[in-house]
Amino acid sequence: MSTIEFSLNGQQVQAPAGKSIFSIAKDLGIQIPHLCHKEGLAPDGNCRACMVEIDGERVLAPSCCRSASSGMKVQTDSVRAVKSQNMVLELLLADMPDQGYKWLKDDACAPHGELSQWVVARGVQPREQLKALRREAVPADLSHPAMAVNLDACIQCNLCQRACRDLQVNDVIGLAFRGAHTQVVFDMADPMGESSCVACGECVQACPTGALMPKTQLGAQSVDRAVDSVCPFCGVGCQITYNVREEKIISVAGRDGPANQGRLCVKGRFGFDYVHSPERLTVPLIRKPNAAKDPAMLAQGLDWREVFREATWDEALDIAGGRLLGLRNQHGPKSLAGFGSAKGSNEEAYLFQKLVRTGFGSNNVDHCTRLCHASSVAALLEGVGSGAVSNPVRDVAQADLIFVIGANPTSNHPVAASWMKNAAQRGTRIVLADPRITDIGRHAWRTLQFNADTDVALLNAMLNVIVTEGLCNEAFLKERADNAVELKAHVQHFTPEAMSLVCGIPADTIREVARAYATAKTAMILWGMGVSQHVHGTDNVRCLIALASITGQIGRPGTGLHPLRGQNNVQGASDAGLIPMMYPNYQRVNDSSAHDWFEKFWDTKLDKDPGYTVVEIMQKALAPDSDPHKVRGMYIMGENPAMSDPDLNHARHALASLEHLVVQDIFMTETAWLADVVLPASAWPEKTGSVSNTDRMVQLGLQAIEPPGQARADLRIIQDLALRLGLTWSYPGADQGMASVFEEMRQAMAAAIGGITWNRLLRESSVTYPCLSPQDPGQAIVFDHVFATPDGRVQLHTAEIITAAELPDIDFPFVLITGRQLEHWHTGSMTRRAQVLDALEPAASASLCAADMTRLGVAAGDMVAVTSRRGRVVLQVRQDEGTPKGAVFIPFAYVEAAANLLTHAALDPVGKIPEFKYCAVQIAPSIPG
């Protein structure tokens, strides 16, 4: 970029051409008042506080919007410029209420945030004549559970609108009306709480004066400490700062992390107070001797004191470890199993799987990845040799076309969705392929609402178009792919016309989208559990791999394959080996070299056989006594299979049947209810650790607060239990030896994170892997030259059409689709105890389209009973025209109407993932009483 020279306040200054006068001045330490300007948002130049005088110009210029040019003479401090700057501050201040909502620190006399800051700096006092004309006060809008709207402190600077629309693209906030009546509005000047606001809170983060504020931080702004961490919810990996006052988290701010650049969603910003819930477990608990493990009690709202008694840590650990040891000694290593957690840190996941493998002596360790992307990982490992994403989410900015299939990113990965919507604003075409049309649909170039369960038909038809129309990238196939000939032959008979009858998408639309994908300069595929949670989940992903490969849409920026990971550390937990068939970094347990390496590394004998997966373990818990692999004891850390597994009656029965169940959690979850020993654990802000996001970024979270009562850091609990199992581990150092554990993990996973030391993580706070050396900056995009397969080439696989395991019939005519919703995460154990999230989504709902509601004779808000062959729930109808005819959508976070009572435990044969996205149900109006 060229450099220009100009005069600033009489001084000759050099600056890059195009840079704003404001930024140049700022770099030189020259302060210019500004209110409507914020880093990261397009300058708007409306507040006019930053006006400067430019020689030869009739009027002053806004320094935030004006770039300097050669020879320009600019004065930021001329009498004329300062006059306007100060008058703007005075005019705005004269209209403000006496008391404000965002004090400078604790100063109630400087109550208007940035406006007060400049007013104080300039010594501006509004004259009485102007204060006498103060605008009419507007009543506060406190209708939203999280945010207070006080428009009497609004300066119409438009930052909230830009935050809502330019950054998050939620399009809720606008400036309506005109002149002095110009007003920030939500939708149609509706109360914020009744508007379409999704409470991402980007507006409160942007508001300079406190007109929009988190309700928890009205008034004084000072905090005791601000601690950097990572959001504990989804896999996007937003960096956050916990603001702590009097040992409580009072608010969360978005931090400028690589995945989020300061953006957050409602969960990350307002869902933090579950940690302070009175329902937190604070003491170790032991089941009373004669308290039956009755799953039916879950529906009865009993007090846990009727079932458990308090115990000391020593007693609880002794019983927990002793009985597990006893079962192992009596029935062998395969009688035990462990579920680790994708909500814990990498270090916890690593130690947990090590405990199972070396302490239990089998590979019976798994976690919820089995329930979300197991099929994706299986297909990716087979096809490209790595289960992780090829390109980070933010690569959508480089994509000409974004193919989103089986995902609801605006609800489940809201910040990731914001990057997609930003791309769409700049002209990128989004194709949404999903049986449900969700919010991202409004931003899509084409929406393909295909029939549920027909992914393979749709994708094979797209492949057919690409092959038959000669749109394959032959050079790519020749150099980098195996089995291309077989694939091409296979898709020949999947014509768009034939597949249209199956998937319900017109043949011409299939052609149009296939051509667009194939011929786009760069096209990226992102998918979620709509793809993976089927008995043909692995086949679905095989088709996606084929699509990216035959078009060469992989290995470059803006292309590739991105399974959107659900939980904040599902990537890291899988990497760390919380998988029954793999050691850390996906080294197969039945691969003798890996097996030998780990036997040596851990200095112990290891089982050669892969262990059982989540659903298989539940089945093995109910196996006859004669089964040598019958699972009799379990250790479950931070997982809630009594809510998350399919066919819950069966799963809960299995858990209740265990001879010994140890549950380590922060709440009395539905699973903990069935435990023998419950160990009170630490919530994410209460510990230090690393987590890996969907983009393969290892990110650091620091401890912000202490765990409540006797609750302990999970890393310590795992080590204490290991000791009871006779393991002699030693992880010295602060934070329960965190750094030592990480170092061991680094050695075990050198091929992935060899270049990431604990110190580097402390220093950089986020490092992307593969990262093989201290100098390696980390590889955000992989497969640019070779795939991670044995021969370095992508392995193409064909897929036949397989139907769902349970199709609708006359008795059960509806398809049940389960999933998540914006406010609740996974089984709701945390989010339903977060007050804002609970207030926003307090009850279970069944989404139906109007046509089906009419057919069923129910109205929005009515209660209905939804029944499958396995269970029944009663819940409220929600009208949602995005739900396809003949289907009902139910989120699975609600214990009082647990969707998984209905779901089917049919498994994908390869990924062993259950078919959460499809089973048959009947719906009937529910008569109260």
């Binding site: 002053l60 004329r80 209708s143 002095a180 149609m188 509706d190 379409s196 107070d273 007050q835």
Partner: protein, 574 residues
């Protein structure tokens, strides 16, 4: 109250949230109903394959507003869904424009809306008392509202009944039209229509220019040597503008500004209603010389009669084109003076709120839909044919007091014969009144005058001999703008005039920037006080003039300064 809020404890918040804890039977926010969707579709038609054009939003709002006499909230929600916009994107636009009345679904729309012009000339003619009488007289199903300048200052007081203009309105006449339900635009029998225009030699020049018989360079030279300047108010040399846009990359567009809203101005309407094709021929020549592939004509919504005429004549032209036509779209304003500002007009053509853009970049480079754009006022284009046919010399030969050319003055107020006066540039007010307007109205003596509408300032009678033209009035703190001359007599006061125009500015400020949004509002309040707070008003004047984004705010202080300079005795100042 405040202390309660800021010390809200966790328990308090819990209670607040418990009250807000409500299950939702639908998705967040308002959802379109089938009924509203059907009603919207009946007016907009089904979306074409690529979806509705975003820039037609205001046109669709007009369809609804015309049909239902208001915009109902359910229709706004449905229209948003049909256009794949968010609700707020429609609402913020609808609520910006005065002609859209947004009603809740359980409210009823007025049968007829009667608009009474309250701008200066009509106010001098007694519009205020007419408004009150009408409000007392009308039944509840008729809405009587005041309106900013209707562009009929020569017919003051002006009223609109629905879309029908009532010149020199009286209570009886308005009541008669309301009773008879006369709400549609009147015919314009005196208009020169296509056939007559062509018979009189029209469009031959456009044909020659299109066919390159008359080369573009010579057209440009005529414009340059004539010194023709933009006649919307800013006065940018037309020839130079054509060259600048012509040199921009391809994909150039043209936007024609007939949002004649400056109080006191009505010349464009008069010309358009009489000779629309003279203007359209200018459009074709400009588009041809500059190379614009499409032309957007933005007509203020108050000119219903002109819109009907222009729609008919555009159709006639397109049915029988004299040469290859660019794509021409007629767009309808919706009651917003600010849309006369060229960048606000462009925003409005794009279907958005009429908020002016910051410059640079200039419209010529980045204009309509981000493309290089030739933006012109109506009258500038109206002159083109005559200038080229007659030659620059004959134009330049006109003028007085050392000025060159002709100007169309819109004269209203206390003169005997108000109207559009084609007079030599540089003519003085006194000459204009005496020679072109039959002198002052009976019983009125010249006291003061506004040389350039609401924005151009106010001058006292002692400065009635200053030449009126571009650049001649700056030394007196005024400018000629669109040459809208409003004449005040000894029975009027400059302070009332200044207050009238400041209220107008406050009403019409887009609200985007602080100096104008807050400044015009506070100034109007201060100017209503018996004795003016000159210091505060001067400070307001300075920040508005120096720091506003566009000409509205920058010119708004002119009446303040003029009153303080020339009429201080009226506001309690020495």
């Amino acid at each position: 109250m405040q202390t309660d809020k800021t010390t809200e404890t966790r328990m308090d918040l819990e209670q607040v949230r418990a009250q807000l804890r409500k299950p939702r039977p639908q998705l967040k926010g308002r959802q379109a109903t089938d009924k509203a969707l059907a009603e919207v579709r009946a007016l907009t038609g089904l979306p074409p394959p690529g979806g509705h054009r975003r820039d037609l939003l205001i046109e669709y709002l007009h369809s609804l507003n015309d049909h239902y006499n208001a915009l109902f909230e359910s229709h706004i929600v449905a229209l948003a869904a049909e256009m794949r916009l968010s609700v707020v994107e429609v609402f913020e636009v609808a609520s910006f424009y005065h002609h859209f009345q947004i009603l809740k679904d359980d409210e009823s729309a007025p049968r007829i809306t009667v608009r009474v012009c309250d701008s200066l000339s009509c106010s001098l003619a007694g519009s205020e008392s007419l408004l009150h009488q009408l409000q007392l007289h009308m039944k509840a199903d008729v809405s009587v509202v005041n309106a900013p300048c209707l562009g009929r200052c020569e017919q003051a007081p002006a009223v609109q009944v629905g879309q029908q203009a009532v010149p020199r309105a009286t209570l009886e006449e308005v009541v008669r039209r309301v009773t008879d339900n006369q709400t549609t635009p009147l015919d314009l029998p005196q208009a020169l229509r296509l056939e007559a225009y062509v018979q009189a030699g029209g469009y031959q020049l456009a044909q020659r220019v299109a066919g390159a018989e008359h080369d573009a360079e010579s057209v440009l030279q005529v414009l340059e040597s004539s010194g023709l300047r933009g006649l919307g108010g800013a006065g940018f040399p037309a020839g130079r503008k054509w060259r600048i846009v012509r040199n921009q990359p391809a994909g150039r567009l043209m936007a024609v500004n007939i949002d004649e809203g400056e109080p006191g101005t009505f010349k464009d309407r008069i010309c358009l209603e009489r000779d629309p094709h003279r203007f359209l021929e200018g459009v074709l020549i400009a588009a041809s010389v500059v190379g614009c592939e499409a032309v957007y004509i933005y007509l203020r919504d108050e000119y219903h009669e002109a819109r009907v005429l222009l729609t008919q004549e555009l159709a006639a032209l397109q049915a029988d084109p004299p040469c290859a036509l660019p794509r021409i779209e007629l767009r309808r304003g919706a009651g917003a003076y600010i849309c006369g500002e060229e960048s606000a007009m462009i925003e409005s053509i794009e279907g958005k709120r009429g908020a002016p853009r910051l410059r640079p970049p200039y419209i010529a480079e980045v204009g309509l839909f981000g493309r290089p754009t030739l933006a012109h006022n109506f009258e500038t284009l109206y002159w083109i044919r005559e200038l080229i046919e007659q030659g620059a010399e004959s134009f330049v030969a006109q003028g007085r007091h050392g000025r060159k050319g002709l100007r169309r003055f819109s004269v209203s107020g206390r003169v005997k014969v108000p109207g559009v006066k084609l007079a030599p540039a540089g003519i003085t007010l006194r000459e204009l009144v005496d020679e072109y307007c039959g002198g002052m109205a009976e019983g009125h003596a010249l006291y003061a005058y506004l040389p350039g509408g609401a924005s151009g300032g106010i001058l006292p009678a002692r400065l009635a001999d200053v030449p009126l033209d571009f650049d001649t009035l700056q030394p007196y703190g005024c400018f000629i703008g669109s040459a809208a001359v409003v004449v005040l007599s000894a029975s009027d006061s400059a302070r009332e005039a200044a207050l009238n125009v400041m209220r107008f500015f406050a009403h019409e400020s887009c609200g985007q920037c602080t100096p104008c949004r807050v400044g015009t509002d506070k100034a109007a309040q201060l100017m209503a006080q018996a004795s003016w707070d000159a210091d505060t008003l001067q400070d307001l004047a300075q920040v508005m003039g120096d720091a506003s984004i566009c000409g509205l705010g920058q010119a708004a202080p002119n009446p303040i300064r003029c009153v303080l300079d020339y009429f201080a005795h009226e506001v309690g100042r020495p």
